[in-house]
Amino acid sequence: MNVSQNYVNKIIEKISTWARVNSPWAIHFNSGSCNGCDIEILATLTPRYDVERFGIKLHGSPRHADVLICTGPVTRQARERLLRTYEQMPEPKFVVAVGSCGISGGVFQGCYNIVGHIDEVLPVDAFIPGCPPRPEAIIDGIVKLLGHIQNGTRPEIMLTTGVQEAV
C-alpha cells in the first residue's frame, strides 16, 4: 500500500514539475520602477522575442502565478502590496528581480521613500542586471530559472532580515 502510494506521489510530482517547467505563469509587479524594465518585459511577449515559445505567460492574478517578476526599487508605499502579492501566490513560488534598481536600488539609493532593493523584502531566486536589461537578457534569466526548477534545485536564497519578516 505504502509503496504504491509513494510511486503515485512520485509520478504526480514528475507531472507537475513537467507542467511547471513547460508552462510557467508569471506575474509582473512594479514596486517603484521607472517603466524602463516594464516595457522591456512587455516587449518579450511581442512577436520579435515571443517568450510564449517557452510557455511563459504573463498573468494578471497572483493566485495563478508561479513566478513573480519584480522591477524597480521598493518604495515604502509599494512594500506592503508587494508582500501581499507574494503571499497570495501558491507554493512553490519563484521571484525574479529585473534591473539594476531591483538588485541594488540603482540610482535611487538613499532616496527618502525607498525601502531598498527587492532582496531586502522578498527572497529573490534570480537577478537580471541591466538598466534596463535587454529582452534577450530577461528571457535568458527566466530560462535559467526554469533549468533550476527542472532539476529540482533552487538557486541559493540570500537571507536578510527583511526575508524573515516577510516569510
Binding site: G32, A43, R48
Partner: protein, 555 residues
C-alpha cells in the same frame, strides 16, 4: 513680440494685487502677491483666458531666512507669469486654495501641503497624494532641515475597506494591474454599471527624486532624471540640460540641438506605438497590440544604433550630445522610416474603420474644447479636443525654430480623435526626422560645461509625447541645484480623465484611463458589509453561512 504683449497684459491684470514685479528673463514675469489675494489673482488670469496653470512649486528658503515660498506658474505661449507668495516657516503656514477656479490645482496643492507642510485652506481633497500611508505627520521631505531619521515608519490610520455605501458600490482598482505597467490606486463609485465618482491615490512609485537632486551634482542629476520615466527618458534629460545650459549661459552647438530633436522624434514614435498597443490590448484587440509592438522594434533598433541603448538613451550631455550621426546612419533612418510610414498609415486606417474597435472609441469620453481648457488637459489629449497647445510651436526650444513641426488637432474630443491625433503626429514626426537628417547642421556636437552653475533660477518647458513637461530649476551657485521641481504631463491629464469617467460604464474605465485594466479576479476573499454605523468584516466562510441563514429565513 507676442510674448511681450502677453507679459504686458498679465502685468495689467495682476496690477491690483502686485506687491512687486520683476522680469528675471525676457519671457518671464514674477509678481509678488499676498497669500490672501491669491484666489482673486488666479481668477483675474483665468477669467481673461490668460494661459493655464502649469505648476505650483513650493520652496523652503532655509532656517536663516525663515521663509517658505509658493510659486504659481502660468503659461501662455512662450510667456511665463509666476505668482510668488511668501509664507512664514514657523507655525502653520496657510494658503487659500485656487482649485475652485482651476481644477487641476487640486493635485498641485496636495503635493505642496504634504511636501512642505503648507495648509491649503478649502482644497477639495486634502489627503496624501505621493507620500506613503506610514509616513509620520508633521514631517515634510522638501524642507531644508528634513532628516531621514525623522521619517521612521508609523502605524497608518486604518483605511476603510471599500465596499457598499447605500445603493452604491466602490470598486477598488489597483495598485497591481494585469496589464498596466505602473501602479496607481483608483476607487470608482458605481451605481450598477455606471460610474458616479472616482478618486485616485498615487505614490506607489514615488521615490523622492526632487529631494535627491539636491544631494547630487549637476552631472549626476542627468542620469538620475533620465530614470524618472523609461518611456520618455529623453524628454527629461533634454528639459533638464536645456534649463541648466540656460542658467550657465552655455551656447549649445546647432548640430547637437538637431540631434536632440531627432532623438525626441524617434522617442515620440516609440512612445505612441507603445501606447497604441497597450490601449488596443485594453479594448481586447490583441492583434493590433502585437502588430504595433512588432513595428515598434524598428524604432528601437534605430535608437539603439544611434545611441547604443534601447530604453535610457543617455544621448544628452550638459552642453551638447554624446554621439554624432554619420552618413551611413542617415540611410538606415530613411529606410526604417519608409517602412514605418507605411505601417502608420495602415494603423490610421484600422483605428478609423474597424467597426468593432470604433464601438469602443467613437463617442466615448467626449470632452469639449472648453472642458479640456478648464481641466487643464495637455498634449495629444488636449489637441484631440481642438486645443492647439504645443510647446514645440508656442515656445520653440532647441532646434524647433530651425526644424518646425506642424500641429495636429481634432475637434471631436472622443477616444477615436485621440487615436487619430496620435497617429497623425507620428507621420509629422517621420517627416521632421527626414528633414533633420537631410539638412543636418555641421560643426561640433558638444561644448565645455562648467562644474559650477551660476546662481539663478529658470523655467524649462519641453513637449513630451504625453504633453508638456515643466521644469523649474534654481541654482545657488554651487555644484548641485538648490531646488528642482518637475511637473509631468500625466498629472495634469488625470483631472480630465477622472472627471470625464463619471457617467460612463465601468467597462469603459480601462479605455478611458487608457491602459489601466481593472483586476477583479484578485479581489480578496473578504467582504465588508457596511451599514449606517457598524462595520463588520466577514471571512468567505462566514459570508457563506450568513447567506444560507438569510435566505433560509425567507422561506
Amino acid at each position: 513680440m507676442t510674448t511681450e504683449i502677453h507679459l504686458q497684459r498679465a502685468g495689467e491684470l495682476l496690477a491690483p494685487f502686485a506687491k512687486g514685479t520683476n522680469n528675471p528673463e525676457v519671457n518671464r514675469l514674477d509678481v509678488k502677491i499676498a497669500a490672501s489675494d491669491l484666489p482673486a489673482a488666479a481668477s483675474a488670469l483665468t477669467d481673461a483666458s490668460w494661459g493655464y496653470l502649469a505648476a505650483i512649486t513650493g520652496m523652503d528658503h532655509g532656517l536663516d531666512v525663515n521663509e517658505l515660498e509658493a510659486l504659481y506658474h502660468f503659461c501662455e505661449g512662450a510667456a511665463v507669469t509666476t505668482l510668488r507668495v511668501s509664507l512664514p516657516r514657523e507655525g502653520c503656514p496657510e494658503i487659500p486654495s485656487v482649485s475652485a477656479q482651476i481644477p487641476v490645482a487640486s493635485f498641485f496643492e496636495r503635493e505642496l501641503s504634504e511636501m512642505l507642510g503648507v495648509t491649503v485652506v478649502n482644497t477639495p481633497d486634502p489627503s496624501r497624494l505621493f507620500l506613503p500611508d506610514d509616513w509620520p505627520v508633521d514631517v515634510y521631505p522638501l524642507r531644508q532641515d528634513f532628516k531621514q531619521e525623522q521619517a521612521a515608519s508609523v502605524q497608518p490610520d486604518p483605511t476603510p475597506e471599500p465596499g457598499r455605501v447605500g445603493n452604491k458600490f466602490i470598486v477598488p482598482i489597483g495598485p497591481q494591474h494585469p496589464a498596466l505597467k505602473e501602479p496607481g490606486h483608483f476607487e470608482f463609485t458605481v451605481d450598477g454599471e455606471i460610474i458616479t465618482g472616482a478618486r485616485m491615490r498615487l505614490g506607489y512609485v514615488h521615490r523622492g527624486i526632487e529631494k535627491a537632486t539636491e544631494q547630487r551634482n549637476w552631472i549626476q542629476n542627468l542620469y538620475l532624471l533620465e530614470r524618472i520615466c523609461g518611456i520618455c527618458s529623453h524628454t527629461h534629460t533634454s528639459a533638464y540640460s536645456q534649463g541648466v545650459e540656460k542658467l550657465a549661459q552655455v551656447e549649445v552647438p546647432p548640430r547637437a540641438l538637431a540631434i536632440r530633436e531627432l532623438v525626441a522624434g524617434l522617442e515620440r514614435i516609440h512612445s505612441h506605438l507603445l501606447w497604441l498597443g497597450v490601449v488596443s490590448h485594453e479594448a481586447g484587440f490583441d492583434t493590433l497590440f502585437m502588430y504595433s509592438w512588432r513595428d515598434r522594434e524598428t524604432v528601437m533598433n534605430l535608437l539603439e544604433e544611434l545611441t547604443g541603448n534601447r530604453v535610457n538613451y543617455s544621448i544628452c550631455a550638459l552642453g551638447g550630445v554624446k554621439h554624432d550621426i554619420g552618413t551611413e546612419q542617415s540611410a538606415t533612418i530613411h529606410k526604417a522610416l519608409d517602412y514605418l510610414e507605411e505601417r502608420i498609415r495602415y494603423y490610421l486606417d484600422v483605428v478609423t474603420s474597424d467597426t468593432t474597435f470604433l464601438q469602443r472609441t467613437r463617442g466615448v469620453g467626449t470632452m469639449t474644447r472648453d472642458e479640456a481648457i478648464h481641466f487643464g488637459a495637455l498634449g495629444p489629449t488636449a489637441r484631440a479636443c481642438g486645443v492647439n497647445r504645443d510647446v514645440r510651436l508656442d515656445a520653440p526650444y532647441g532646434a524647433y525654430k530651425r526644424f518646425p513641426v506642424s500641429i495636429i488637432t481634432d475637434e471631436r474630443g472622443d477616444l477615436e480623435a485621440r487615436f487619430v491625433v496620435r497617429m497623425k503626429e507620428l507621420l509629422v514626426s517621420c517627416f521632421t526626422i527626414r528633414t533633420i537628417v537631410d539638412n543636418m547642421p555641421t560643426g561640433e556636437i558638444i561644448t565645455k560645461f562648467p562644474r559650477k552653475v551660476p546662481a539663478g533660477e529658470t523655467v524649462s518647458r519641453v513637449e513630451a509625447p504625453r504633453g508638456e513637461a515643466f521644469y523649474y530649476i534654481k541654482s545657488g551657485g554651487g555644484e548641485s541645484p538648490t531646488r528642482l521641481h518637475i511637473r509631468t504631463p500625466s498629472l495634469c491629464n488625470w483631472t480630465s480623465v477622472i472627471n470625464k469617467a463619471v457617467g460612463h460604464q465601468l467597462a469603459d474605465a480601462p479605455m478611458l484611463i487608457a491602459g489601466m485594466d481593472p483586476c477583479f479576479s484578485c479581489n480578496d476573499r473578504m467582504v465588508t458589509v457596511r451599514r449606517q454605523a457598524d462595520t463588520k468584516t466577514l471571512s468567505w466562510f462566514e459570508l457563506r453561512e450568513y447567506g444560507i441563514k438569510k435566505y433560509g429565513q425567507r422561506k
